[in-house]
Structure formats: structure tokens, C-alpha cells
């Protein structure tokens, strides 16, 4: 029996196990929307396409599965670009379906026509314009395969309207075979042996773990490696949760807003084992002085990440989980009774000494609410058992520093692109995946206004996300830079003209709380977390609080501004 392109698409999604997609209809996808009610795939209607792509991304980060987004042509498609670039920067598997004008009109500047394949070429892992109905099913199959395999990333499929209407036999390919795409997964045995030898001879090893460990599902292997071999672990923003945040060996984040202990450890280590991280400039600071005394081992599934920013001594192209598992096996086989604890004992005490000397801290007081205090309270109340999404800026850094992520996939944050407006819609995606979990968006008053319209999506889909606004009436991170490096010229960063967030929440049918006194923070948070609908908690925090430690852009990691 022949099916229409729209029917074929939904069949493909069912066969990929997609249970939900996030999107917004329009003329160029109306045929697909016509079929959705007849399929098992649920569609969540957002209020702006940026919300749809971030929600799909948040769903993907929280579950580890591919997130799906469906939008119309032209403006519908272009509105997703920020979210696509966000997913691309953080290697998140998302498949985006965009409508396109009928093939006969392509290139004619038709109504709501845009070359979305051209526009998204630099920010997708790959993208397709389906030109033949016979290619539709295999293209969808490839799109999902590409999105989740190798180094994951967003894949876009552009669907002309007439393709959605044409008829064809449905046949979903079982396998994907592409001669030009064969990602390396297994690590090279010789390199693994080399690394184990380096570990054995090292005196001051350090693991620098990134988002790749989470994406590959390698957190158990990482935890084994750190804990069994007694190696301190520092993490990128994207890597938080891959190693238990409350473990004594965990040093917290490194880099620009990293801990003193982590940055000092990088500076003093003699072996740096970088796993699934890409030596981003926010991590390395001045590249020439990064890990100056260390032999650097770099495990990454993407060969382009290796030798891109820093020169690496031992490259290891592999999926992080496989590489870590191979390291575990090799250490057990060749060095079964080696005394790792004793071998690195002095180093671990030294690193822990740094952590005790300069822990993450802030000048708490009773007259104002410190944003760090709020994050600490969120951690205490939830006992670390929540999914935390963040917006971007100071709120994001405090959420990274003062909440201990114990499990992978519990921090959803735009690391690479730094997309303001990401957190709330991403939290909706996560909440849809885990309806019974507490999902919290730690926000700033600036960021939250970038996708606030998704409040309606939250309310009508019963996604009870809790938005905690650390409200300082500023675009705080930029203000911090202006204060420290631009002679306090606070140009366009003061945002104290703002909506009444409590009334705003209520206008949407959500609940709103405002906190102006420190004594009310904990009780209000507890109350808000119990409400069975979306909530905004507007917390008026100390206006000019800064994020510390801070390594100024381009400085060495040891040049930290402390509290």
C-alpha cells in the first residue's frame, strides 16, 4: 500500500522510537500535522520555534536519546537556527524537520521560502533537502543515525511540501551503510597500553573530563578510573555530573570560573588525561601556559578536536566510554596489584590542600540575598536529586559552582554557544521526558525574558518546571566584565525596568513567588517545589555580586581573581 510522504515520515519516527516532538505548524508542514493525530507520536506545541529546538535539545540531554523538532519553512526554519547552533556547539543529538515550499517553487523566492539547508550548513553535523519521495525513508534513517553516532550533533531534514503529498511504498531500511561515514569507536590497543604506562610512571596525574563522557554514557567507567586509581578529577561545564560532584577527589570546574584547586592542579600536574573535552578557550585560558608540566593524553571521538587548540602527546581517537573501559581493563590486567593509592597519595593530599585553602565561597551576609546562597539552598532541599537547567551568564556559573551534580544528564546548559534563553525551554523538554522529576531552571532576569513565552507551553502541557530567577536587575555577567575591565561603564546592562514576574506567571496560569528577605529563601523554595504547576520564584539577590574565582580572558589559569 502506498503512503504519502507525510505518512511515511511519521512511520519513520515511530520506527525510531520517537514518542514526542516539539514544534510549530505552518503552511509548508500542514500535511504532516494532518497525520500526527493518527500516529503514536505526540506533538508539543511551543510558542516560538526557538522554544521547540531548545526543548528537543533539553529532552536529548536529559534522556540521552535523539530529540526531535518539527517546524515550517521560512521563518519557522530560521527561528530554529540559534537552537541548532546551540546543539551543534555541545554535540547534542537532535533531528530537525523543516517544511519547504514545493520543489517547483524552490529558488523562486516563493512565500515563506528560505534556503535553510544553506543557512544551517555550518551549524549542523549534516543536512538534507529531500528531492525524491523514494529517498525520504532512507534519509530519515540516516539523519537519526548521524545525529546519535560518532560525535553526536544536530541533523536537519528539509521536506518540500509536494514530497509530503506524493505517494510511495513505505520501506524503512534496517541498517545504514555510508562509505563516507565510518566513525571510529574502539580505541587503539597500543595507545591504551601507552596511557597505562604513563599512569604508572606519573606522580601527579589529573583527569580533565568533558561532555563527551556524558554523551557516550561513560560516567561509570570514569568514576571507576578516578576512584580506583585515586586520581583527582576536574570537569568542564559540560562534563558536570559525569563524576560524582560530592566525591573528595572531585575538584569542580576548571578554567575561567573554575576552582582554585582545579586550576592549580592543571598547572602542576605531570599527566593530564583529557577525556571527551576539547580544550575550549574558556577552559585553557592562555594556551601557552596551560598544563605546562604535563604529558597530555587526549581521548576524543572526533579527530578534529585533537591537536586543534593545544599540542597533545598521546592522541586517542575513540568513543569515551570504550576508551575508559579499555583503560580499566588494561590497568586491571597489567597492573592488578599496583598500589595506586600510595603512588599518588602525596599529590592527592596536595590537591585537597588547595581545595581546603581556597574553597568555593562568597561573602555571605544577613542583609541581602546572595545568589550563591540560593543555589546552595536548592542543592540542600533537593539533595542533588533534580534536573537543573540554566540560562546563560552569572546564574549559569553559580549553578555550576554551588550545586553538586552527582549523576550525568542532570545539568542542561548551553556550554559552547552560551545561548541566553536556552534553559527554560530545555527544562520543558526534560520535564516532558521525566514527568515525575523535579526540573529547575536557574535563571537570570535577563535570560529568562528571551524565551519567556514558553510559559504558556509549560502551563497547557502541565510541565511543572520551577524557574528560579536570581534577579539582580542586570545582565550580570556583562556588568561584571564592565566593572572589572571597562571602568564600570555599565552601558546597556542595567535591566531594572522589568516585568512583575509574579504577575507574569499568574497571567499565564502559573504560580509566582517573590523573595526579598534572606530568611524567606528556603521556605519559599520548599513551597514552590511542592506546587504542581509551573512556578516562577523571583528572588531579589545582591545586585552587584560577582562570580569568583575568575581568570580574565586570555590570562593563565594561575592568574585567578579570588573572592
Amino acid at each position: 500500500m502506498k503512503l504519502t510522504g507525510a505518512q511515511i515520515l511519521l512511520k519513520c519516527l515511530e520506527m525510531e522510537g520517537v514518542d514526542v516532538m516539539f514544534g510549530f505548524p505552518g503552511g509548508a508542514v500542514i500535511d504532516i500535522f494532518d497525520e500526527i493525530p493518527k500516529s503514536s507520536v505526540e506533538h508539543i506545541l511551543v510558542r516560538h520555534e526557538q522554544g521547540a529546538i531548545h526543548a528537543a535539545d533539553g529532552y536529548a540531554r536529559a534522556t540521552g536519546h535523539v530529540g526531535v523538532c518539527l517546524v515550517t519553512s521560512g521563518p519557522g526554519a530560521t527561528n530554529t537556527v540559534t537552537g541548532i547552533a546551540t546543539a551543534y556547539a555541545d554535540s547534542i543529538p537532535v533531528v530537525i524537520f523543516t517544511g519547504q515550499v514545493p520543489r517547483a517553487l524552490i529558488g523562486n523566492d516563493a512565500f515563506q521560502e528560505v534556503d535553510i539547508v544553506g543557512i544551517t550548513r555550518p551549524c549542523t553535523k549534516h543536512n538534507y533537502l529531500v528531492q525524491d519521495i523514494e529517498d525520504l525513508a532512507s534519509t530519515v534513517k540516516q539523519a537519526f543515525y548521524l545525529a546519535r553516532s560518532g560525535r553526536p550533533g544536530p541533523v536537519l531534514v528539509d521536506l518540500p511540501k509536494d514530497i509530503q503529498q506524493q505517494l510511495a511504498e513505505f520501506h524503512y531500511p534496517e541498517d545504514v551503510s555510508m562509505r563516507s561515514y565510518k566513525p571510529t569507536k574502539k580505541p587503539h590497543v597500543g595507545q591504551i597500553r601507552k596511557v597505562v604506562k604513563l599512569l604508572k610512571n606519573a606522580k601527579r596525574p589529573l583527569i580533565y573530563s568533558g561532555g563527551g563522557v556524558i554523551t557516550s554514557g561513560g560516567h561509570d567507567e570514569l568514576t571507576w578510573l578516578g576512584q580506583t586509581l585515586n586520581i583527582p578529577v576536574t570537569s568542564t561545564l559540560m562534563g558536570l555530573g559525569a563524576f560524582p560532584g560530592d566525591d573528595d577527589l572531585f575538584l569542580g570546574m576548571l578554567g575561567m570560573h573554575g576552582t582554585y584547586a582545579a586550576n592549580m592542579a592543571v598547572n602542576n600536574c605531570d599527566l593530564l588525561l583529557a577525556v571527551g573535552a576539547r580544550f575550549d578557550d574558556r577552559v585553557t585560558g592562555k594556551v601557552d601556559t596551560f598544563a605546562p608540566n604535563a604529558t597530555i593524553v587526549h581521548v576524543d571521538v572526533d579527530p578534529t578536536s585533537i591537536q586543534k587548540n593545544v599540542s597533545v602527546h598521546v592522541p586517542l581517537v575513540a568513543d569515551c566510554k570504550s576508551a575508559l573501559a579499555a583503560l580499566q581493563k588494561e590497568t586491571e590486567v597489567s597492573l592488578g596489584d599496583f598500589d595506586w593509592k600510595a603512588s599518588y597519595g602525596d599529590w592527592v593530599s596536595k590537591v585537597q590542600g588547595w581545595a581546603a585553602e581556597h574553597p568555593l565561597t562568597y561573602n555571605d551576609d544577613e542583609t541581602s540575598i546572595k545568589p550563591q546562597y540560593v543555589v546552595e539552598k536548592i542543592y540542600e532541599i533537593t539533595e542533588g536529586d533534580a534536573i537543573i537547567a540554566t540560562e546563560v551568564g552569572q546564574n549559569q556559573m553559580w549553578a555550576a559552582q554551588f550545586y553538586k551534580y552527582k549523576k550525568p544528564n542532570t545539568l542542561l546548559t548551553s556550554g559552547g554557544l552560551g545561548t541566553m534563553g536556552y534553559g527554560f525551554p530545555a527544562a520543558l523538554g526534560a520535564q516532558r521526558a521525566f514527568p515525575d522529576k523535579l526540573v529547575i531552571d536557574v535563571a537570570g532576569d535577563g535570560s529568562i525574558q528571551m524565551c519567556i513565552q514558553e510559559m504558556m507551553t509549560a502551563v497547557c502541557n502541565k510541565l511543572p518546571v520551577k524557574i528560579i530567577i536570581l534577579n539582580n536587575g542586570y545582565l550580570g555577567m556583562v556588568r561584571q566584565w564592565q566593572e572589572l575591565f571597562y571602568e564600570k561603564n555599565y552601558c546597556s546592562t542595567c535591566m531594572d525596568a522589568q516585568p512583575d514576574f509574579v504577575k507574569l506567571a499568574e497571567a499565564y496560569g502559573a504560580a509566582g513567588f517573590r523573595v526579598t528577605e534572606k530568611k524567606d529563601v528556603e521556605s519559599t523554595l520548599r513551597e514552590a517545589f511542592k506546587v504542581d504547576k509551573p512556578v516562577i520564584v523571583d528572588i531579589r539577590v545582591e545586585r552587584e555580586e560577582n562570580v569568583y574565582p575568575m581568570v580574565p580572558a586570555g590570562a593563565s589559569l594561575t592568574e585567578m581573581l579570588l573572592v
Partner: protein, 163 residues
């Protein structure tokens, strides 16, 4: 900084040239010349790209090219013994008084005259960078009115001999 000749086999699908060219522009790499045409294998095209950069940049270019989904194979011919050729058409001023001298040069360089008019010649030349550079140098004084170049095409030699 040095020039590297990259031989890149790609799936011949829509947009592949723009993916490759976009990779260079988006990452700030410089393309000196780029030549594309189909190969004997159905659905596969060969690009010869001459790119400039130091070793680290070229290594990154090669890896990024390999990462593109439609890329089948990338070879850096610079480290290998290879044959490099470019074809160039040159429209040169050739009044009667200069014509004999130009034809003598054409003869020495074993190029072809492919069009003649009252005061112009079009010359076809094929060769490596050195030969083409030398010919252009010699003809410049007569006045080159137009130039059309294919960019380099290159192929690895069957016998790799260490010199």
C-alpha cells in the same frame, strides 16, 4: 606558511562544493585554488584543493575535510611524489612587430596558439606551477589582456621514489 595540494574524493551530491568551500571560509582557512570534476566512479567527484597554511593548520584542514559527511577520502599530496598540472588560457597583445617573438616563446614552452586575431593571440598552456609562472612572467611585458586558469589538478605518482 606553505602551499599544500589536497586531493579530496567526495560524494557527488547537491551542495557538496558549498560544504567544502564553506568549511574553509567558516574556519578562516585560505583556498588558493580549487578544481572539481566527476571521476570514473559513478557518484564520486574529485576535488583538487591547494590550500595555504602551516603544518598545524593543514592537519586541521585535512581532519575537518574528513569529518564532512560526503567526504570519501582525503590525501595530502604534498608529502608524496605527485604529478601537478594546470591549464591556463592567456589572451596576449600581439601586434605585428611582437608576434614573432611571442610565437618563439610559445614554441619553446611547447604551448599552443588556439586563437589568432589582428592584434591578439590566445595561448593555451599546460604545466606545473613553475612553468606557468615562467611563461606568465615572459608574456607580461607584451601585455596579458585576460587570463583564465583551471587551478591545479594533481595525482599521486605510481612509483613513490625517495629523492
Amino acid at each position: 606558511m606553505s602551499k599544500h595540494t589536497l586531493s579530496v574524493m567526495v560524494e557527488n551530491e547537491p551542495g557538496v562544493l558549498s560544504r567544502v568551500a564553506g568549511l574553509f571560509s567558516g574556519r578562516g582557512f585560505n583556498i588558493y585554488s580549487l578544481n572539481v570534476a566527476p571521476t570514473l566512479e559513478k557518484g564520486v567527484s574529485l576535488m583538487t584543493i591547494v590550500a595555504e597554511g602551516d603544518e598545524a593548520i593543514v592537519e586541521q584542514i585535512v581532519k575537518q575535510l574528513r569529518k564532512l559527511i560526503p567526504t570519501v577520502k582525503v590525501k595530502d599530496l604534498t608529502q608524496l611524489s605527485s604529478v601537478d598540472r594546470e591549464m591556463v588560457l592567456l589572451k596576449v597583445n600581439a601586434e605585428d612587430s611582437k608576434r614573432a617573438e611571442i610565437l618563439r616563446i610559445v614554441d619553446i614552452f611547447r604551448c599552443k596558439v588556439v586563437d589568432v586575431s589582428v592584434d591578439e593571440l590566445i595561448i593555451e598552456v599546460t604545466g606545473d606551477q613553475g612553468k606557468i609562472g615562467a611563461l606568465i612572467n615572459l608574456l607580461t611585458r607584451f601585455g596579458i589582456k585576460e587570463i583564465a586558469r583551471t587551478g591545479n589538478v594533481a595525482m599521486k605518482r605510481s612509483m613513490q621514489i625517495d629523492l
